[in-house]
């Protein structure tokens, strides 16, 4: 059918999910502690079928307490950032939009800094103070941008972008000021901001799921609205869509997903911009395809990147943000070149 290029056909969806499953299992089988991939596979099978596993207690702990939650979290964070990036690009009609555009990153950084400098000894809390503060900080950043951007004419996207820049600059300045109050905090804040999944456990998965799942669902439901929004506010209005309202809902869901991801993984860059673009080049420009496939593609991308980060120089680790940049950029260039003829 002529429109297959822009349809989320069962074939495309199925292939993407399959790739994700394969990548997840591969990432679980190979890790820094050399457990042997066949032994891990046997353990996974044992869990399903009830046969005995070749792993001893400590190895099983490494697998189930450290490796599996980390792989799952990588998938969730990647999915969140990539789908949020696609959503932001749809709302702003701008291919350079990323999920940190409206002050989420600056707000999260400020939250983390405040938690490090001022927080009481909060080990007894279920969630550590840093993820909590980063989460609310990110939402605060986006909220401030929305309020500031709205007070100017309606919810025009150019105003929102400028407001985002202003809010980010302001919050970063406040963060620097707070940091100077206690220079000992610099090390801890910096390592958090660099981004990484080194200390992930099931706890992190549990605290982010309640935000990521609803946000992801809302975004996937809004895909047709994003396509209509691409026609401009006037034409969208004539088709019965209210641009301001759609923007509010989509940006709200995307920012929630971003805040949840950032709270457990720090600021991992590149995923939110590159993955939607690659999906667009491979599968077409309609958001009905781009958004769900970015969600899956983001998960695939970050699981692979984290796998590289923790195995290439094992037992040492590479910073995850470096890996995403190093793998994202060349792949993007490759896809661009192959599709040169298809673009203007």
């Amino acid at each position: 059918m002529a429109t297959d290029r822009n349809r989320l056909t069962p074939v495309r969806l199925g292939v993407s999910v399959l790739v994700l499953a394969v990548v997840l299992i591969a990432a679980i089988c190979v890790g820094a502690a050399d457990l042997g991939w066949s032994r891990v596979a046997a353990e996974l099978w044992a869990q399903l079928s009830g046969t005995t596993s070749p792993l001893d207690q400590r190895e099983a702990d490494i697998l189930w307490q450290l490796r599996v939650p980390r792989v799952v979290l990588a998938g969730l964070v990647g999915a969140a950032l990539a789908s949020a990036g696609a959503a932001y690009q749809g709302v702003f009609r701008n291919p350079l939009a990323d999920p940190y555009l409206l002050g989420a990153a600056a707000g999260a950084g400020l939250g983390a800094t405040v938690a490090v400098v001022f927080a009481p000894d909060a080990r007894t809390w279920i969630i550590g103070p840093i993820p909590l503060a980063a989460f609310f900080g990110a939402l605060l950043g986006v909220g401030l941008t929305w309020l500031l951007g709205r007070s100017a004419s309606g919810t025009g996207t150019a105003i929102l972008l400028l407001a985002g820049v202003a809010v980010a600059a302001f919050l970063t300045a406040v963060q620097t000021f707070v940091q100077q109050l206690d220079t000992n905090s610099i090390k801890q804040v910096y390592t958090w901001m660099l981004g990484g999944l080194n200390t992930s456990g099931w706890q992190d998965v549990l605290i982010t799921l309640p935000y990521l799942v609803p946000a992801g669902i809302v975004l996937c439901l809004c895909t047709r609205l994003l396509d209509v929004l691409a026609l401009g506010d006037d034409e969208a209005g004539s088709l019965g869509v209210r641009p301001g309202r759609v923007r509010l809902v989509v940006l709200g869901a995307a920012s929630l997903a971003t805040a949840a991801a950032v709270s457990v993984s720090g600021l991992i860059g590149f995923v939110g911009i590159v993955v939607p673009h690659v999906v667009r080049l491979l599968a077409g420009a309609s958001y009905r395809v781009v958004l769900p496939l970015s969600l899956i593609g983001g998960g695939i991308f970050l699981v692979i990147a984290d796998e590289i980060a923790r195995t290439v120089i094992a037992p040492a680790e590479l910073p995850l943000g470096v890996i995403t940049a190093f793998t994202g950029a060349p792949f993007f260039v490759l896809v661009l070149r192959r599709n040169r003829g298809k673009l203007r």
Partner: protein, 308 residues
């Protein structure tokens, strides 16, 4: 001579006299040994004409050494990170981002720093102030050499020599008194709670090495000596001792470590051999390296089979 030239000459003489009057009265024993030529590791030798009495220290390790060799009275200001000994004249000067003007305001005759950051030496040189750069010690011998250097530079050579000799013998005695199990104990030295560690080629690594300990970070490729380890690898390596050098910066302790996912399976955690170190003591190379060694010795004694 013209009257103008005479009055100018008079003016300069008066200013010169005024300047000299503010200098403290120097005893003959203090000026003995000066002028002295101090060799600087990896740099140009420094010549000091007279005993420095207005020392500014921008290096916490050097601050501790200065006070330990009896040169405390010669120190007028120390940087914001120099918090030991408590008697040291603490100021807001920064050793990481030094400001030449702020340092010069203390009218130092010698500045001790751990790095020539952003043209510090040149900047102070323009004001006629000499800087002694003593970078992070890579080995124990480096640390001893720095103490000797500081002794020479401050005219406290006998005290410095005594300090070094004392440290060497105390350290040797400590090592001798500590049990050394047939199977060497493995250890993990934690710098931050995202698993940055120090391998055995670093200064702290060498102190651990004196006790025959094996560092789990040695298998990790690292050019700096400070690799970031993977949680999985740490649990798999199962160190018998864990030393936490992030108790103050990052609020880590034995309970926090035990709460980490998967870490309760590590031998060090199971046997209660997670040791919290003072962040500063574990990172400086001044006289308190003995305190660090004592903490290590106590941990090894506790962890060695049959020992408590």
């Amino acid at each position: 001579m013209s009257r103008l030239a005479l009055s100018i000459l008079l003016l300069f003489t008066l200013v010169g006299c005024a300047g000299r009057e503010t200098a403290p009265a120097a005893t003959s024993s203090a000026t003995a040994g000066f002028p002295v030529r101090v060799d600087v590791p990896g740099g140009q030798p420094l010549t000091l004409d007279r005993r420095p009495d207005h020392i500014v220290s921008l290096s916490p390790s050097s601050t501790e050494t200065l006070f330990a060799i009896g040169a405390g009275a010669q120190v007028v200001a120390v940087d914001d990170q120099s918090d030991y000994p408590p008697a040291a004249p603490h100021t807001a000067l920064s050793g990481l981002t030094p400001n030449v003007e702020a340092i010069a305001a203390y009218k130092p005759d010698l500045v001790v720093a751990s790095a020539d950051t952003s043209g510090l030496v040149a900047g102070l040189g323009k004001l006629g102030i000499k800087t002694l750069v003593l970078p992070s010690a890579q080995t124990l011998d480096d640390a001893y050499a720095q103490m000797t250097t500081l002794g020479k530079a401050t005219g406290q050579t006998p005290a410095a020599d005594k300090l070094v000799a004392g440290l060497k013998s105390d350290l040797a005695a400590l090592v001798a008194a500590t049990p050394r199990p047939a199977t060497p104990l493995t250890y993990y030295h934690e710098l931050s709670q995202d698993y940055y560690s120090a391998n055995s080629r670093t200064f702290v690594g060498q102190v651990y090495g004196l006790f025959g300990l094996v560092n789990v970070a040695d298998t990790a490729p690292s050019s700096s000596g400070y690799p970031q380890l993977s949680a999985e690898a740490l649990v798999k390596a199962d160190p018998k001792l864990i030393f936490l050098a992030d108790t103050q910066c990052c609020r880590q302790d034995a309970a926090a470590v035990a709460a980490r996912p998967g870490w309760s399976a590590i031998s060090a955690v199971k046997t209660g051999n997670v040791v919290g170190l003072d962040d500063d003591v574990a990172s400086r190379w001044g006289p308190r390296l003995l305190d660090f060694a004592k903490a290590v010795a106590a941990a090894v004694t506790k962890a060695a089979p049959g020992g408590h």
